[in-house]
């Protein structure tokens, strides 16, 4: 089977664009990624489009109306917060299987402000505040509290994740925020669901990101290998049965399963990874995923954030883009924005936030419901 390469990728600066359409936002990222590759929509053989909120609105076709209706097949993907990564993976599979040589993957989302979801129900009464809490800050507070239960992880340790990622995004011009948030500010911010304060919740923003994938033959034929990045592994899992997972989602098992598949496919181990973009939808989530992705032993997640090992300049920098906490989290765009971030570092083009000498990067997303995608990229 052919190797698969990212030959073009880009994202718009995440923000709030209430007066634009999803199609227009997606189209902008698509054109940026095509420009990065030096190609046009006429070169693309298929489009894989990730959008979660308008999953039944044929967003991929709408994107093509913005940038060129060439009649190519479009696959629209929705997989909660793993939506963008799933679209990217569909494109990877199409090339890997030899069906196409050049495809476009786009992820786009337009979000509202504030808490996702609502307490409104059509019939009966909402269970929120009666049968516990189903808000996303609460779901991920439970994830952090389970880690506290096992290893004594503290509110302060979780808060430090947010300090780190906000610091990282101060070097990322495409992040929603470029603002430092000291520890006291994070811990004293409005408590949403203990231990997640408002500054420990990801930012709901609008955004889009795109990637052009090519087979080895095509990347060489077009002379695109000098900035190409190889996809070493692509893994997607659903939640396996574990104790309590029908009551409270288990993001650990689904991630461990995907990480295992990805490491095996890549023929690599955690020590080979130079940087990681992982799913810090809430500060509590980042620490558990250090362990789930094998970046440290079980129970050492708290020590990892205390020691600075996951900060820019540390042993294994995590979320140097600013992560979902500060770059922002437009659901369908997030998985492809991760690909953009890794590719930018592997090309040595990340400027002030460059992870020096980065050769191999890992991206990770989890979608509530539950899905996990892990990708490993390598400098070609």
């Amino acid at each position: 089977m052919t190797e698969v390469f990212v030959v073009g990728t880009d994202m718009i600066r995440f923000g709030r664009f209430p007066h634009r359409t999803v199609a227009n936002l997606g189209g902008e990222a698509a054109l940026l990624a095509l420009d990065d590759a030096g190609l046009t929509i006429k070169d693309m053989q298929a489009l894989y489009c990730g959008n979660n909120i308008l999953a039944n609105r044929m967003v991929g076709q709408q994107v093509l109306r913005e940038i060129g209706q060439t009649g190519i097949p479009v696959v629209n993907c929705a997989n909660a917060c793993a939506t963008g990564a799933t679209a990217f993976r569909e494109g990877w599979m199409a090339i890997k299987s030899g069906v196409y040589d050049l495809v476009l993957c786009v992820g786009v989302e337009q979000m509202g402000k504030g808490l996702l979801g609502s307490g409104e129900v059509e019939t009966g009464i909402s269970p929120e505040g009666i049968l516990g809490s189903m808000t996303t800050p609460s779901v991920f507070a439970h994830v952090g509290m389970e880690h506290s239960r096992r290893y004594g992880t503290t509110f302060e340790q979780f808060a430090k994740v947010s300090v780190k990622n906000h610091h990282h995004s101060s070097f990322n011009p495409k992040a929603m925020y470029q603002v430092e948030t000291p520890l006291e500010e994070v811990m004293n911010a409005e408590m949403i669901s203990y231990p997640n304060t408002k500054l420990m919740c990801s930012v709901n923003v609008d955004g889009s990101a795109a990637a052009v994938l090519a087979s080895e033959k095509m990347a060489k034929k077009l002379g695109l290998m000098s900035r190409a990045v190889r996809v070493r592994a692509s893994a997607l899992t659903s939640d396996p049965f574990t104790d309590r997972n029908l009551t409270t989602p288990d993001f650990n098992a689904v991630t461990r399963l995907a990480a295992g598949v990805a490491y095996e496919m890549a023929g690599l181990g955690p020590d080979d990874i130079d940087l990681v973009e992982l799913h810090d939808c809430f500060a509590t989530a980042e620490i558990v995923h250090y362990e789930n992705l094998g970046l440290c032993a079980d129970g050492e997640g708290g020590r990892m954030i205390d020691s600075g090992e996951t900060a820019l300049g540390g042993r294994i920098p995590v979320n140097v883009s600013g992560g979902l906490l500060s770059k922002g989290h437009p659901l369908g765009a997030t998985g492809i924005a991760n690909i953009y971030e890794l590719t930018t570092h592997l090309r040595g083009e990340a400027g002030q936030r460059q992870v020096e000498g980065a050769r191999i990067g890992m991206s990770h997303v989890v979608g509530l419901g539950t899905a996990c995608a892990v990708h490993v990229l390598e400098k070609a």
Partner: protein
């Protein structure tokens, strides 16, 4: 607020709240005859081992332990905060999410694995047609038992 008398007039908050012939509410569950996994609610196929046709309907315990909790300070509009969202493991199997009541909503005073009882009560809210609902809550086992 825990008025079990007359609870049959209330609609169940979830399908797994059922009533005995004498009107007492209980939690209905399932047990897999192949692997022994216990589920909240009635089902025919096992999510754990995929066995079919060997699921037995069981009554779940109303005693359990606090596995996990968070104190919720901001929720959807109209939801009274703070409250404690709890995950409880029931004796004999099955786990439930629900509000833990009759405690201070303070993470410092809540203890993992503290024993709790499942109690049935009016959910405290009515639907648009004025219908009222029977729900379950968790209560610390050493708390004052209602009169």
């Amino acid at each position: 607020m825990t008025t079990e008398t007359g609870s049959a007039d209330l609609k169940p908050m979830t399908p797994f709240i059922k009533h005995h012939a004498d009107g007492r509410p209980y939690l209905s569950g399932s047990k897999c005859g192949a692997c022994g996994e216990v589920y909240v609610g009635e089902r025919s196929t096992c999510a754990r081992c995929a066995a079919r046709g060997v699921m037995e309907t069981v009554e779940l315990s109303t005693k359990g332990k606090l596995y996990n909790f968070t104190v919720v300070h901001r929720s959807f509009p109209g939801v009274v905060t703070p409250f404690v969202s709890a995950i409880v493991e029931l004796e004999g199997g099955g786990s439930l999410k629900g509000n833990l009541i009759d405690v201070e909503p303070d993470p410092k005073t809540l203890k993992f694995d503290m024993p709790v009882d499942v109690v049935f009560a009016d959910a405290g809210k009515a639907d648009r047609q004025g219908g009222r609902y029977l729900t379950y809550f968790f209560k610390p086992q050493n708390a004052q038992v209602r009169a």
